[in-house]
């Protein structure tokens, strides 16, 4: 077993992608023009690695965000690299676009440039799907996937998470700052994980696959995701959007009054919701196979 959580973005690319060729490698030194003005250090790849390679012999375009550099936050150059990769994918038509996401969202140091970058990434991602290329997002880093990148992820065809991974819009500290500690205690790690963590996302159908924190497991899931995409509609359709809207409406109706995720799991039919947190991935998947919310339509 080799931990995906502990690895850097470069190590993840090396572990998951064969025959990798990097676009705009660090030697090109395309760094952030904003950070030096704020007296902050830059990174030669601006916290994201982009390129092409193969998975299971199939051509893929890949991006990997480095959570260690500013929490993987998206700045102007970082975002432009993602957009450029996605536009290149539309032209060259790989079998899939794989995004190894780890990000707190917009890089606030870069203000509007970062915000615009994230919205451009969303548009570019949907263009990739419109071109019939499935987008597979992998979330397994310690910084999770939040803010604008959380939205980007939910625009993808397939999301693969580990139990340790987190996916949400506002992060725990943001919620606590805005609404008070009574609303959400960001230091309560058990609460944070059962609210945003992989198991909860999987039970609700917000991610398609849950895997153990292991490079090989993530790789196998990417291969599976690519296979699943062949049989399903890749482009975003109105029908899929309406289906999603219906699902969310029903979720709010059925579960909107529940205070804690454990109440939600109980309502879904989990007999001992307090046991969920300690189950390993395999046991969790077996226990919850029958009660997991039906997988959302790809959309």
């Amino acid at each position: 077993m080799s931990s995906y959580l502990e690895a850097t973005a470069r190590q993840r690319v090396a572990a998951l992608i064969s025959e990798f060729t990097e676009f705009l490698p660090p030697a090109k030194e395309w760094t952030s023009p904003h950070l030096p003005q704020l007296n902050a250090p830059v990174s030669f790849d601006d916290g994201v690695i982009i390129g092409r390679g193969t998975v299971d012999g199939k051509q893929v375009y890949v991006a990997a965000q480095e959570g260690g550099f500013m929490g993987g936050a998206v700045g102007e150059v970082h975002g432009a690299k993602l957009v450029g990769l996605m536009r290149a994918a539309v032209i060259h038509k790989p079998q899939a676009l794989v995004l190894l996401a780890e990000s707190g969202g917009v890089r606030l140091h870069e203000a509007n440039a970062g915000l615009i970058a994230v919205s451009e990434v969303m548009r570019a991602l949907l263009a990739v799907r419109a071109a019939g290329i499935p987008v597979i997002v992998v979330i397994g880093g310690s910084n999770g996937c939040f803010g604008g990148m959380g939205i980007v992820s939910r625009c993808a065809n397939v999301i693969i998470m580990s139990e340790e991974a987190r996916l949400a819009m506002s992060g725990p500290e943001v919620i606590e700052t805005a609404n008070g500690v009574e609303e959400f205690d960001s230091r309560d790690r058990a609460l944070v994980w059962r609210t945003t963590g992989g198991k909860h996302r999987y039970l609700l159908g917000d991610c398609q696959m849950l895997v153990a924190d292991d490079d090989a497991a993530f790789k196998a899931a990417i291969v599976q995701g690519m296979q699943d995409s062949i049989q399903s509609e890749v482009a975003l359709s109105l029908a899929a959007l309406e289906g999603e809207q219906e699902m969310l409406t029903a979720r709010l109706q059925d579960l909107g009054n529940k205070i804690d995720p454990m109440d939600i799991w109980a309502a879904m039919g989990v007999e001992h919701p307090e046991d969920i947190a300690i189950l390993d991935t395999e046991a969790f998947l077996q226990l919850t196979a029958s009660i997991r919310q039906t997988e959302r339509q790809h959309g």
């Binding site: 007296n39 250090p41 550099f69």
Partner: protein
């Protein structure tokens, strides 16, 4: 931020590899980019560090590094976020070893 530049003349060892990057610009860590470049047998090191005022220590770490490797025609660029001298030495050696591995 502080920028420090070092140049060591008359190196002995050419790496002859493609550019290599190791490390991450995170708290207490740094990234090291090594490139082969015609520098008339010199090794040039540029450090951009968030920790201001440690030039003397950097000089000592770079002197040690140069004694270990004696590199020629080599450009090293560092983005640092407050790494300790031991971590700096470790990362720089790791970067050179990655170059030697790649050039095999």
């Amino acid at each position: 931020m502080e920028t420090l530049v070092y140049r060591f003349e008359q190196g002995q060892r050419k790496l002859g590899s493609a550019a290599q990057l190791v490390g991450v610009v995170s708290s207490g860590n740094l990234e090291v980019l090594v490139q082969s470049l015609d520098l008339q047998s010199a090794c040039e090191i540029e450090v951009n560090t968030a920790a201001v005022g440690f030039g003397v220590i950097w000089q000592a770490v770079m002197n040690d590094f140069n004694q270990r490797w004696q590199l020629a025609d080599c450009r090293i660029a560092i983005n640092d976020m407050g790494a300790t001298p031991a971590v700096v030495s470790l990362r720089m050696d790791q970067a050179i070893e990655a170059c030697l591995e790649q050039a095999k």
